[in-house]
Amino acid sequence: MDTVQKLSEESPVYWIDLPDGRSLATINLTPGERVYGERLVQRGGVEYRTWDYRRSKLASAFLSGLESSLVKPGDRVLYLGAATGTTVSHVSDIIGEEGIVYAVEFSPRMVRNLSLLANKRKNIVPILGDARYPSTYSDFVNEVDLVYEDVAQPFQAEIFVKNIKMFLARKGKAFIAIKAKSISQVEEPRKVFEEQRRVIASADITVSEEINISKYHKDHMVFICKL
């Protein structure tokens, strides 16, 4: 059996066998550099970075059945809620040098780390900005193939819609991770997800897939959308 296996043909996301089990991994764009304490593994002259699903909703979604072709080499990605860049770094690995990821984050403390990451990776543009107001960063951001949102905000569906309207290409896709507890502490998660879905749909955006990742992240749901 191969020790490295591609999840799907279109996208360089891999299963990699390790002495103590197997893990998701991407090919390291900056060999030798670690981003968040992940493992670097050499296989067939290529360096892979293991991808911890507990720290990434995108990885969890892949494990829960999402096609890995959502992110492809050369893609232009708008990433809202980039934090310190854990998942961003893997997106940066996947899209490669031809792609670009605009990493928007609200907290200055987090953006500091993000900037360090972008110093080394030419396909990341760090943006200190508030995702609620996409026009404030519309000087830097251009058309994108994927809008990715993981912001844990009460109005995250509204934020999602605004950013899609402004930046998403006609044939592009969008990913939103919804945390039920940051929308309502009281309401049942199922109802919260329904409500968020309604907000998205009422803006003429189609929810094409619903992926439950609560196995890996409590009370979280992922929607894949398109225009």
Partner: protein
């Protein structure tokens, strides 16, 4: 009417799908300076005069809110538009448009400039985001908590260690600093004579007790050389306590500068803690009074929202003596009032208002008097939640020993577990 497109390469007029340069950036540094200036709406960083000359009197539409507000401030008719089809198409299509207009040779060049200038602009925005002195105060107040943890850990060890030699002392001397001083400057039991106590400033009766106790102690021997590491630890711990005092003083002095109104109302430490919990002074200023009232009582608040128990009356503002020491039946009413005044104070401090601390303080005191008059006694039929049992409030304030064991209270430890002296419950923001 003119449409304006802002990009990392410059500011452009937009007609249909053609660009006319209004301001092209000379280099990365220039671009970052102007773009950060637009975001921060800082008129000194954006060449507004130059833009005004080129733009004339035309009505202007742009997609960047910062620019439209800046233009408005110099008397131009500018509007922020986010739903204009032409503009949206231009925003999306910047790379292509720039190549078409001959500003860059290829999209590749555009993206490479975008990366460089994005990094630089973000760097500049970060600089202005972290220059506030309130951020220094936040680090300092968090450091106070760290210091408390460190000293507590050390004191527990010292008491245990020295306790092998002099077990009776642990109960006799409750004050951590005094205990450490005894370990550091007196040491082995056979040195417990009157000369050794000279510099310690203890009352005579206490010294008598200690000397007697040392004579009859059941502890093991402690040789001079075995005492040394313990002595050094005790000295270091005393240094830490000294350090705490210094940090506290520093916070106190900086708070007069950063947030004089908040300080006047809440005292510098509670005020600093409120700022830390909100994230910054400005964040605190943007919070409603109702939120300020329960900052630090999140656990109780969310429990209340989830299960319908009574909502918390106060969070960290409980530590304001005025609130913490007033009778329980008016404490909630007072907390609500104080929180409202704190919200005003925070806004004054954050947005450069005058000093009204003494006025606000007076209002709070008046309100307290009013409440005392209106509710002189505990309401009948309602049972006091026994936060502090009868007799807790004597002339010396309340004593820790009087606190009941089984009540979660902000800043006072959780269910039934008594927190070590000085340790506060305080969650760091992520």
């Amino acid at each position: 009417m003119k449409k304006i497109l802002v990009s990392p390469l410059g500011i452009f007029g937009l007609e249909g799908a053609t660009l006319t340069p209004l301001l092209t950036f000379e280099n990365d540094e220039h671009a970052a300076e102007v773009l950060a200036g637009i975001r921060l709406e800082d008129p000194e960083r954006v060449p507004l005069d130059q833009l005004k000359e080129i733009l004339g009197e035309d009505e202007i539409q742009t997609h960047v809110p910062g620019l439209s507000r800046l233009l408005k401030s110099i008397g131009l008719e500018a509007k922020e538009v986010s739903d204009d089809e032409g503009l949206i198409a231009a925003i999306k299509g910047k790379p292509g448009l720039m190549v078409q207009a001959g500003i860059v040779a290829s999209q590749q060049e555009y993206y490479s400039l975008l990366h460089e200038r994005g990094l630089l602009t973000t760097g500049k925005l970060l600089q202005s985001a972290t220059t506030g002195r309130d951020k220094l105060v936040i680090q300092a107040i968090l450091f106070l908590d760290d210091l408390d943890k460190m000293t507590n850990l050390a004191v527990v060890r010292i008491r245990e260690w020295y306790g092998l030699h002099f077990p009776e002392l642990d109960r006799k001397v409750e004050n951590h600093a005094t205990y450490c001083r005894l370990v550091a400057f007196v040491g082995p039991r056979d040195r417990y004579d009157y000369d050794s106590f000279e510099q310690l400033n203890l009352p005579q009766s206490k010294i008598d007790q200690l000397v007697d106790l040392a004579r009859v102690s059941s502890g093991t021997e402690l040789k001079e050389e075995d005492w040394k590491p313990l002595r050094d630890l005790a000295k270091e711990t005393l240094n830490l306590m000294e350090q705490r005092k210094k940090v506290e003083d520093w916070i106190d002095s900086v708070m007069s500068d950063v947030a004089p109104n908040l300080k006047a109302l809440a005292g510098s430490l509670v005020a600093a803690r409120l700022i830390a919990m909100a994230g910054s002074l400005e964040d605190l200023a943007k919070k409603p009074a109702s939120k300020i009232q329960v900052l630090g009582a999140e656990k109780a608040l969310y429990r209340s929202l989830r299960t319908g128990t009574a909502p918390p009356k106060h969070g960290v503002i409980f530590q304001i003596p005025l609130i913490g020491k007033s009778p329980w039946w008016i404490r909630g009413k007072l907390a609500r009032f104080v929180a409202a005044k704190l919200a005003i104070a925070a806004r004054l401090d954050a947005f450069g208002g005058e000093f009204l601390g003494d006025v606000l303080n007076q209002q709070v005191h008046d309100r307290l008097e009013e409440l005392r008059k209106e509710f002189p006694q505990a309401p009948e039929g309602k049972k006091a939640i026994k936060v502090f049992p009868k007799g807790s409030f004597n002339a010396k304030g309340f004593s820790r020993k009087d606190q009941p064991k089984r009540h979660g209270h902000p800043g006072k430890g959780g269910k039934g577990r008594k927190r070590p002296h000085g340790k506060r419950k305080f969650k760091r923001k992520k």
